[in-house]
């Protein structure tokens, strides 16, 4: 376990840029050489509220992309939804503000050794890490298709530059305000049938991940999903972020999504038992 977070460090880092993008904020943070150690799927844990804050816990955010060659040195990009107290505080920070981070944390998406065909499925801000992932997969010669979904257009995050690494991108919104009306999971079954998809990479709400898994479990497709459980520590010491996962023998145990995740093999996650007592 300690091996998983072997690169993690607590640092003070400058917020280089903070831009509104639809209903999200795109934050660029200068993390220096640590950027080289961040892999698609890893997350960062950020202190919120400042020195006299009543919020004692860090907030976790998926690392959307890193850049190791900016004028600022290494940077990382986050896509943050101003949702509750902590994320609103973060989104309100001015450029130049100093943030306290622990990074990089958690597991990364597994990258195929062969140039296979893959499908990336993102829900809401869950699309954030998929663009960095797409670049990596693309560089490996994979054919990368992407489906993004959200309740409404403002919650679709799909930057122009990000699309370069993607072969096709389809967007679904529940209110039809962008792309097709419907759910991002609707086309997956037929895509699996029609194309030779080896791996589905997913990131988004647990219900979406679970729905995707219901489809992949009927097939040979590998499902690598980034789960999102509420986390108190992010570094494996509190046991709050667990979910039931089977091992090869079928024995189910409660694994920590911060250390054994966030990226997990969807086939082993016991989706029907999430939030239940074992």
């Amino acid at each position: 376990m300690a091996l998983i977070n072997k690169n993690a460090a607590q640092i003070s880092a400058a917020l280089v840029s903070n831009k509104r993008v639809g209903q999200y904020h795109q934050l660029i943070i200068n993390i220096g050489d640590l950027a080289q150690l961040c892999k698609p799927g890893n997350f960062v844990a950020i202190s919120v509220g400042g020195e006299t804050s009543g919020m004692v816990l860090r907030r976790a955010f998926a690392i959307s992309r890193v850049s190791t060659s900016t004028t600022f040195g290494g940077t990382m990009e986050l896509i943050v939804a101003p949702h509750g107290q902590g994320s609103r505080w973060l989104c309100a920070q001015p450029e130049g503000a100093t943030l306290n981070l622990v990074v990089p944390l958690g597991t990364a998406f597994g990258i195929p050794t062969e140039p296979v065909q893959v499908l990336l499925v993102g829900g809401g801000y869950g699309s954030a890490p998929l663009f960095g992932l797409a670049e990596t997969l693309n560089a490996r010669g994979c054919r990368v298709d992407m489906l993004l979904g959200a309740s409404t257009a403002g919650k679709i995050y799909a930057p122009m530059e990000g699309k370069r690494a993607v072969n096709s991108l389809r967007i679904y919104t529940e209110d039809g305000s962008m792309g097709q009306m419907g759910r991002v999971t609707d086309p997956i079954a037929s895509l699996i049938k029609d194309m030779d998809i080896a791996v589905i990479y997913s990131c988004g709400p647990m219900a979406m991940l679970s729905a995707i898994n219901a489809i992949t479990s009927q097939s040979d497709v590998i499902h690598q999903c980034a789960v999102e459980e509420s986390m108190a520590c992010g570094i494996g010491i509190c046991m709050t972020c667990v979910l039931p996962v089977a091992d090869e023998t079928g024995a189910v145990s409660m694994l920590r999504s911060c250390i054994d995740g966030p990226v997990m093999d969807g086939a082993y996650v016991q989706w029907d038992k999430v939030g239940q007592v074992l």
Binding site: A2, R58, I237
Partner: protein
């Protein structure tokens, strides 16, 4: 800057400094070892272990609250055998001083755990977490029942023999903490750990039901620090010779010194490590600097100091 002797003793166990992990807030140390050497701590208090492996309570298991948090883990863990086989050797290898926390559902289970630990070498002390529901008495928490808490400690004492210090960890959710404390000391506890979490609840307004899977949870963090300081002060006043491992909301050196002045011989850090993985190290350093600034040459002189100093007229 002259040096301050930070060493402390709890029962017959000696520690080079008074800063410990809090049980359940550092697992068995491996994850924090990524951030600093475990040997830099006074000691590692391991997550309360039971006799069998347990999967714990349903999620969500935590809720953030103003200057605190609720947790409801339900003592998920590997069980004592796996713990002894895997975690103790790891901690010994790291040269960490080890306090093993045990928890049970019956008086008998605590004794069983003590029996398994008796022959394990490399342990400095046992912390007995009696803030657990007693299945033999309608799930009433041991620590809330003077008689049951006494019987637990008595059983552990008899099983473990006279060597290993026993630290009884008490719950603040009682009418008369001092009498519970007296009871467990009479029954053979060498020291007390104060305080465990305070029972609390958060209602999730989206679902309009209790947020935690287990409904209620334990409140920890700076919010409860004044309760912890009061508990330590009261118990130290009643039993000044019984060492106290203080905890509850300590996140910096001044918080630690507050507990020490109230009567604590050592201080455990729980929730603060969640927000700051280096908290244990920075608390120890800040405490040293503060003691120094106040002219203390030894931690021992500061223990219980608030009881000895008169109000200026």
């Amino acid at each position: 800057m002259t040096s301050v002797d930070l060493s402390t003793t709890i029962g017959n166990a000696w520690f080079p400094n008074p800063i410990f992990t809090a049980s359940g807030c550092a697992s068995s140390g491996r994850e924090l070892a990524q951030f600093f050497p475990l040997n830099d701590l006074g000691g590692v208090v391991t997550k309360s272990v039971m006799s069998k492996a347990r999967t714990g309570r349903p999620t969500p298991r935590m809720a953030e609250t103003p200057s605190g948090m609720l947790n409801s883990i339900g003592l998920q863990g590997p069980g004592i055998d796996a713990f002894i086989a895997k975690d103790i050797p790891y901690l010994i290898e790291q040269k960490a001083r080890i306090i093993v926390s045990i928890a049970g559902e019956t008086v008998e289970e605590y004794s069983t755990l003590a029996r398994k630990l008796r022959s394990v070498s490399g342990i400095s002390a046992i912390e007995v977490n009696i803030s657990c529901p007693n299945v033999e008495n309608r799930g009433m928490v041991f620590a809330c029942d003077p008689d049951a808490s006494r019987r637990v400690i008595d059983g552990v004492r008899r099983t473990i023999g006279g060597e290993l210090p026993i630290i009884a960890k008490l719950s603040p959710d009682v009418t008369d903490l001092v009498s519970i404390a007296r009871g467990v000391v009479d029954a053979g506890a060498d020291a007390l750990a104060l305080i465990n979490t305070v029972l609390g609840m958060v209602i999730n307004l989206d679902t309009m039901r209790p947020h935690l899977g287990g409904k209620t949870g334990g409140l920890s963090g700076p919010a409860i620090r004044p309760i912890a300081v009061r508990a330590i002060y009261q118990v130290h006043e009643a039993m000044p010779k019984v060492p106290i491992l203080g905890m509850g909301g300590v996140s910096n050196g001044r918080d630690a010194l507050e507990m020490i002045a109230a009567g604590a011989s050592g201080v455990s850090i729980g929730t603060a490590s969640f927000g700051n993985p280096m908290a244990l190290i920075s608390v120890a350093q800040e405490l040293k600097d503060l003691l120094n600034a106040k002219g203390f040459t030894s931690l021992r002189d500061a223990i219980g100091f608030a009881h000895r100093i008169e109000r200026p007229q």
